[in-house]
Amino acid sequence: MKKRAETLKTWKLFIGGAFPRSESGRTVELRSTQGKLIAHLCDASRKDFREAVESARVAQVGWSAATPYLRGQVLYRFAEMIESRRMEFVDARQLLGTSARVAKQDVECGIDRLISLAGWSDKAAMILGSQNPVSGPFYNFSAVEPAGVVVAIPSIDAPLSSTLSLIGGALAVGNSIILVAHPECAVQPLLLAEVCACSDIPAGVVNVLTTDPSSLAKTAAEHRDVRVIAAFASGRVRHTLRAGAAENLKRVSVWPPQSDLSTDYWGSPTFLASFTELKTVWMPRSL
């Protein structure tokens, strides 16, 4: 034995705070741009997806009941933990053939975005809601609420910054999230899952599935416990998501996969509004 053999990681899914293999037993190869085999990733099935929804649905109740201040602190802590492991994210991306500069940019953009979005947890409602001056003796206001379970598809071009934008946006306003990551960009979300598992984010609030999103698009769009689809997608996947959502009228936001994740939009209330519902309340006032 000339030198020490490297210990290769077995990558698994992240559902309800645990790391199970896909119930299907199927895997998908992940290779670098040079064709070197990096890993066998789990190929998530529809059953895995339904289990993730069940975890996310239960966890969302508690997460949305947490105070906005606490949610902000938990997300900021999440960002701190990612920061301390940032080189791991850069290395993992480089291993697949991305340049160090691009990999580093994506990681730094992602962490900064998460910090920015964490700060919205106790502020978004101020910007998105309103007190409405109706013409009558009523107190009338519109307040934002979390939509519920979010299914999100990250961008292959910007795996970490898109994933953290989606997690930050969904979680800041009280949703839970299921990330469906394409194998080509799955390593970053899977590393995030490991950070998440030892962070203060409750189990089930963040779930990560790896598979080609086109295989789960229909299931996700048609699932009645999923309230929002937020996806970097185009072409057939985009159409499948929107057509499936037409059956139950869930909210769908689709952005082009080539979107520039460094713009202010991803830290804006307009982006956060993708993950909220608006409730208007009337109350008469009188003595």
């Binding site: 409405n132 009523f138 309230r227 037409a246 009228l249 979107s259 994740l261 307009t270 519902e277 608006l278």
Partner: protein, 491 residues
């Protein structure tokens, strides 16, 4: 429907108090395209009747594919100039429209009642004031959009908007659609429902009177086919629909493969929750207003009454007593509380669901009173012993039919209220403010009325969650439906 609660009034006969204004209706109505009234390309037409008498009122042009295309092209052509019109000038046009509607409001109210069957008291006191207010409110937004659009300092409209509206509040729905679209610099093709086209076409006259630039608003008439052609037209940028959930889903499907922006305001099965600690007299009036306003043709109607068990018996008895005082009949009579059902088709739908309710085992109660010989009528109806699984507890009836259930704890009330795919409105009656706000928090609905019901205002965003649709109408948040969303640039 404000009648003093007193047992003596029951025996009184009210002398009729018919609305005296006679509104003349032209025999033939054309399409309003590019600022002009034009015939349908194939000369097609359909009749519109007064649902209270079944008498034909007029013949309405039926827009086909060529007409839809012509209207979309007119709207596209007008877009450039309208977009470049100074925002304040756009607002000034909306102010003019609001004023004209106020001036002609009595005529419009009478016409609305003749064509749609709703009591004149409601079209006069609710529909028309809210229609004018909606234009007035949005007129003021036109030059303030940069304070609303968060991602853009020079906010812009979306473009050509296809808007399809229902028959329950014909003119008010036209205002809810047209006013924000114009304020944000869009152009519009509006299709009213086929049973209630007349007031929308009178609005077209008003648009001519106030010199609205040709093509900025086009109004085309027809039934579902016309609506489908319009929303599926390839040169439409935005679709806004108010109507049933099933049609809303069809529209969402047809838009799935396109870049069209979509907002939907759909059906509901609104829970109306009454706690034992409620102000009971007001709650009775609220429940009555919640379901028997506008013959129950209200998407946000409180059609599921949930009463706390300890007061249920007495409360239901009082609702029944109150029902006996609802006057059903000639919508043009100023004493009338409940007018005609909008169409024979809708009457049959209501009757069908009522029969299903009886068949599934609920107890039916309705008041006995004489109805006119002709016309489409349905008595106020109350169902007790309703199970959550019954059709009348799950399906939108869109008529004067109330389903009553009971609950023991606030938790049970919330669980029952939220047990529906819809999420448009909800009502809560309790004198305990902390309980009211916690209920508001936990109910899944876009609008929650605490100790009131069926209140509307142009400054208050209205719209649903879940299968009641998405997007808001009214208020600051309603403008987002008509502003182009600026997202980060694409690399």
């Amino acid at each position: 429907m404000i009648i003093p609660h007193s047992s003596t009034t029951e025996d009184w006969d009210y002398a009729s108090a018919p609305e005296s204004l006679k509104v003349s209706v032209a025999e033939v109505h054309k399409l309003f395209i590019g600022g002009k009234f034009v015939k349908a390309a194939d000369g097609g037409s359909f009749p519109t009747v007064n649902p209270a008498t079944e008498a034909p009122l007029a013949s309405i042009a039926n827009a086909g594919e060529k007409d839809v295309d012509r209207a979309v092209r007119a709207a596209r052509k007008a877009l450039r100039g309208w977009r470049r019109t100074k925002p304040l000038e756009r607002g000034k046009l909306l102010y003019r429209i609001a004023r004209r509607i106020q001036e002609r409001s009595r005529e419009l109210a009478v016409l609305e009642t003749m064509d749609g069957g709703k009591p004149i008291r409601e079209s006069r006191d609710v529909d028309l004031p809210l229609t004018a207010a909606h234009f007035f409110h949005h007129a003021g937004w036109a030059d303030k959009l940069s304070y609303v659009a968060r991602q853009s300092t020079a906010p812009d409209g979306i473009g050509v908007c296809a808007q399809v509206i229902p028959w329950n509040f014909p003119l008010m729905m036209a205002a809810w659609k047209i006013a924000p679209a114009l304020a944000c610099g869009n152009t519009v093709i509006l299709k009213p429902a086929e049973t209630t086209s007349l007031t929308a076409l009178r609005l077209a006259e008003i648009l001519q009177e106030v010199d609205c630039p040709p093509g900025v608003v086009n109004i085309i008439t027809g039934a579902g086919d016309t609506g489908r052609l319009l929303v599926e037209h390839s040169d439409v940028d935005k679709v806004a629909f108010t109507g049933s959930t099933s049609v809303g889903k069809q529209i969402a499907r047809s838009c799935a493969g396109s870049k069209k922006r979509l907002t939907l305001e759909l059906g509901g099965k609104g829970p109306h929750i009454v706690f034992a600690d409620a102000p009971i007299d007001q709650a009775i009036e609220g429940v009555v207003r919640g379901i028997w306003f506008n013959q129950g043709h209200v998407c946000c109607a409180g059609s599921r009454l949930l009463v706390e068990e300890s007061i249920a018996q007495d409360f239901i008895r009082r609702i029944r007593d109150r029902m006996k005082m609802i006057r059903v009949g000639d919508p043009l009579d100023k004493n009338t509380d409940l007018g005609a059902i909008n169409s024979l088709a809708q009457l049959n739908t209501i009757k069908g669901l009522v029969e299903t309710g009886v068949r599934e085992g609920a107890d039916r109660f309705d008041v006995k009173c004489a109805l006119p010989e002709r016309g489409f009528w349905h008595l106020p109806t109350l169902f007790t012993r309703v199970q959550p699984s019954h059709s009348i507890a799950r399906e939108e009836i869109f008529g004067p039919v109330l389903s009553v259930m009971t609950f023991r704890t606030p938790g049970e009330a919330i669980a029952r209220a939220n047990d529906t795919p819809y999420g448009l409105s909800a009502g809560v009656w309790t004198n305990k403010a902390s309980k009211a706000y916690e209920m508001a928090q936990q109910l899944r609905a876009g609008v929650v009325w605490l100790n009131c019901f069926n209140e509307f205002d142009p400054a208050s965003p209205f719209g649903g969650v879940r299968e009641s649709g998405f997007g808001r109408e009214g208020g600051m948040q309603g403008l987002a439906a008509y502003l182009r969303e600026e997202i980060g640039g694409v690399r």
